[in-house]
């Protein structure tokens, strides 16, 4: 699904990302961990063509993202609040994003049904603008918007941050279900090692812009990851 070759991003002299090779096959739930400044958001921004690569390129389904925009048709992403439209109500936002993906309003309404639990009665039908929602509820809106339209590739940057404990558990369940039932490819980053090992089949550790670990998740993975970050102290 995603093929990265000799990709780097420099700001002046400083290299913030430097990846020789990274292939993410279709259907994988791919986890990205690393400390602040490790390059997680930079990598996602490059995949989404939001910043320009210094060298190399990202291919999304064989499409070079910086040259051809058609990857947008099968990719949905939620990186930060820059992906929300504050003056819309959550419903209007879903209709907008879904509508751009050619979904009819009724289809969107139906597609929202399964997420009622996840919203916990605090998002839909509130007559509140997104900007007036709490950070956690804003995040829920952003996440659901990426799942709604059934795009084969979903990119989520730090989806667990700012969520309350119950919602974190719900989100894990949701992502596991989506991944197994639909065969979607997920790219997820997180600071929470427990959550990411619970959700992802494969975990890549970034450190100072480089891939330092690339493991298939097993029962040992959590301990290994904890050991790795312990070493960084």
């Amino acid at each position: 699904m995603i093929d990265i070759n000799l990709l780097s991003k420099k700001y002046g002299e400083q290299t913030v990302l430097d990846i020789d090779l990274l292939n993410i096959p279709s259907g994988q739930t791919f986890g990205l961990v690393g400390n602040n400044g490790a390059g997680k958001t930079t990598l996602f921004s490059l995949i989404l063509d939001l910043i320009e690569a210094t060298t190399g390129e990202v291919k999304n389904n064989e499409i070079v993202v910086s040259k051809d925009e058609s990857w947008k048709n099968h990719t949905a992403a939620f990186v930060d609040e820059q992906f929300l439209i504050g003056y819309l109500t959550p419903e209007e936002y879903f209709y907008f994003v879904g509508g751009l993906r050619n979904m009819k309003k009724d289809a969107i309404k139906t597609a929202l049904e399964p997420y009622k639990d996840f919203f916990h009665g605090e998002v839909l039908g509130q007559k509140k603008y997104i900007r007036d929602l709490s950070k956690g509820n804003q995040k829920k809106v952003g996440i659901v918007a990426t799942l709604l339209s059934n795009t084969p590739l979903v990119i989520l940057d730090e989806p667990f941050a700012n969520l309350d404990p119950t919602t974190q558990i719900r989100l894990k369940k949701l992502l596991n279900e989506e991944a197994s039932a639909t065969g979607k490819t997920f790219l997820i980053s997180s600071h929470d090692l427990q959550h990411i090992t619970d959700v992802c089949d494969r975990i890549v550790v970034l450190n100072k812009g480089k891939i330092v670990r690339d493991v298939v998740t097993s029962s040992k993975t959590l301990n290994e990851l904890e050991a790795f970050f312990q070493e960084q102290l």
């Binding site: 989404l48 910043i51 947008k72 992403a77 990186v79 820059q82 003056y87 819309l88 751009l100």
Partner: protein, 494 residues
Amino acid sequence: MKHPNMYRKFIYLQWKSFFRAAGVTSKLAQKILIAVVWAYFAFVFSGLAFIAFFGIQDEFGLDPLPTVSGLLIYAFVLWIVIRYFIQKMPMVHVQPLLTLPLSKKRIVHFGLTKSIISFFNIVNLFFFVPFGLILLKEDYSLWGVISWSLSIGCVILATNFLNILLNSQDRLLLIAAAILVGLFGLQYYELFDITAFSEPIFMVPYHQPLWVLVPLTLMLLSYRKSFEHFLKKLYMDSDQMRPKKEAQRVTELKWLDGFGRTSFFLKNDIRLIVRNKRARMAVWMGVAFLFYGLIFMMDIYDSPVIKVFVGIFVTGGFLFSFGQSVPSWDSSYYALMMTQNVQYKEYLKSKWWLVVVGTLVSIPLASFYIIFSWESYFAIIAGGIYNIGVNAHMVLLSGAYTRTPIDLNSMQRAFGDKKSFNIKTILLGVPKVFLPMFIFYIGVLIHSKLMGFILIGVVGILGFALRNFVFDWIEKVYQNEKYQTLAAYKQKNT
């Protein structure tokens, strides 16, 4: 909780916040531009002081002081209108101070004192200082002039605090604007002369210097009231500290569905305007500019080339104020737009429709200029056509270079933004305004004024016919600017 260096520290904070504002990046050109703007206002206002004195004295044979006193009522109401647009709520910036060891009283005093040093208070000095000096030179009574000037100053500051206290409500603006237009209309048609009432009132402190105590008390009271008000409201969740929550306006806007995919954007844009004060202002600007022509209907401006200039602005107020901030209106979610499968053209088309409809509505609304002269009316129609055909594209083009993030959720006023100045957008202003004047001039040389107006209209229609071609071009510019625009929007207001 007194601290000897505190005010120095406050001033230090102010200084840093000015010079480190995001996007300014200490560009010398921009600083110079700001200096030029200040110099311009200093020049205009002190020039106005001379005109106000000698013009009134020599041209009309009136005593300048009472006449100016009478007219001041207009200035005060106008000030309220302008403050609405320009003034920032001072308390928004003191949030980080709340948890520091400073007493709340000091923080409020600081916020209020800061509001005094705003452009629209200081700019008055450029008028009243020279005017006062002229008065003294012309042998007006010393104590009278001092008392008179102080009184005016107090009233200006009182409106300053009142505006802050009332938190720049939309309603206040409408009332003030209605009063202004109403009074002016009544006076213009000699139905009712407000200055006959305001003149003696404002002259009292001149004749009886001790009466200065009345406006002074008024000013102190308004300060006291604001102070008490903010002292109570100095909490993070009060309206004064946070952007106000808008009343909920939820409608489906089904009637727009006929526009196909563009309708998604049109719906958003209409919600943008209805639900964000900053964007609503663009509409008010459009309304205000409808009346812009009135000042040019005076004899001194009676030149047809100037009328072309006016025609462009009368019909183009909304077009300019909304259009030049495309795509910045969407700055807070630009990353979303860039990852959706939308084409720039669909997105741009929605903005284009909005400015075109705004202009189309202005043209019949501005038809009241027909009472002044046919020439004015032709200028407005020609200007309107030019706006639709040419300027609707030009504003979208200059928007691609503006890259000033707009924080829709903040109270920042549209004009308070020094960052809006930028050489490229100014250069792009030339074809917007001066080209039609030039075209008109050519028409006059070839044949007649009517020919000039027709030529402007023809150029406008040509531009309209070429719109698909122009859209492709603008699209390319937007695409080339994409990464830079995204980066600029990312570093929001700090």
